[in-house]
């Protein structure tokens, strides 16, 4: 089975988010229960946690820029496809914002205001935005 770009991107982002969530869960468990040892006692784990978080933050910013550039894409007149992605781009970004606002209260209640899971959640939404943008691009122009 051929692996597509979206499939690979989903896999890589999922691995990074899973790693962050496992670390966040273990560290939060140790903090909440005043455990005698935490996985952050190991310097390598703490370093990996920081590195993965910064990687994910970079991806979040990059995907937002990519999505914006995809929305700004135009196609030369004369082809049989739509000339801009305007018809797709009217509400997608707003819908993601609405969802983020709606789930803010349950998120705050369950996960608290710490930054550990905030990275997870924001990146997941950014990935959805990137995913939608890529689908729009592939719809209009085929595989990049």
């Amino acid at each position: 089975m051929e692996r597509s770009q979206i499939t690979i991107t989903i896999a890589l982002i999922s691995i990074a988010l899973f790693t962050i969530s496992i670390f966040g869960f273990a560290i939060g468990f140790a903090n909440d229960n005043e455990a005698s040892m935490s996985i952050t006692d190991d310097p390598n784990v703490a370093q990996l946690n920081t590195d993965t978080s910064s990687d994910i933050s970079t991806f979040k910013n990059d995907s937002e820029d990519t999505y914006q550039s995809i929305l700004d894409t135009t196609i030369e007149p004369g082809s049989d496809v739509a000339q801009s992605t305007g018809s797709f781009s009217i509400s997608v970004g707003n819908i993601v914002g609405v969802i983020k606002n709606i789930v803010y209260l349950p998120y705050q209640t369950i996960f608290g205001s710490g930054s550990g899971f905030g990275i997870f959640f924001t990146t997941f939404l950014a990935f959805l935005v990137f995913f939608v943008g890529l689908l729009i691009y592939k719809t209009l122009r085929g595989n990049p």
């Binding site: 496992i22 140790a30 455990a35 996985i39 784990v45």
Partner: protein, 112 residues
């Protein structure tokens, strides 16, 4: 004495924590073997059961489920000092990450 023990019996008047800690002091491999038992029961049991019912087992997904099931008792053991070594906790977390990589890069479409 009719029963000659190979080790000193733990003092059972100090609660069940003391019994477990003394047992682990005598045999340090108890916790890692317990974690291995949890992992293998979930992994082999789940994938075999799925193979019987569906015809094929989704080993990557069951490895991920089994490693998460192993992480939970490992984290519980980490609350009290002396139950589990930090190395074993890190190994369990690493096992989680490795099985997640296997699961997410697995070619088959998982249904779990």
């Amino acid at each position: 004495m009719f029963l000659d023990y190979l080790y000193n019996l733990p003092n059972s008047t100090e609660g069940i924590d003391a019994i477990a800690l003394e047992t682990i002091n005598i045999f340090p491999g108890l916790v890692p073997m317990l974690l291995l038992f949890v992992f293998l029961v979930v992994f082999i049991g789940g994938s075999t059961r799925q193979k019987i019912t569906r015809g094929s087992g989704d080993y990557a997904a069951w490895a991920l489920i089994a490693s998460i099931a192993t992480l939970l008792p490992a984290l519980l053991f980490s609350i009290t000092a002396g139950f589990i070594q930090l190395d074993w906790l890190i190994i369990v977390v690493s096992l989680n990450i490795l099985s997640a990589i296997w699961f997410f890069l697995d070619k088959r479409i998982t249904e779990v």
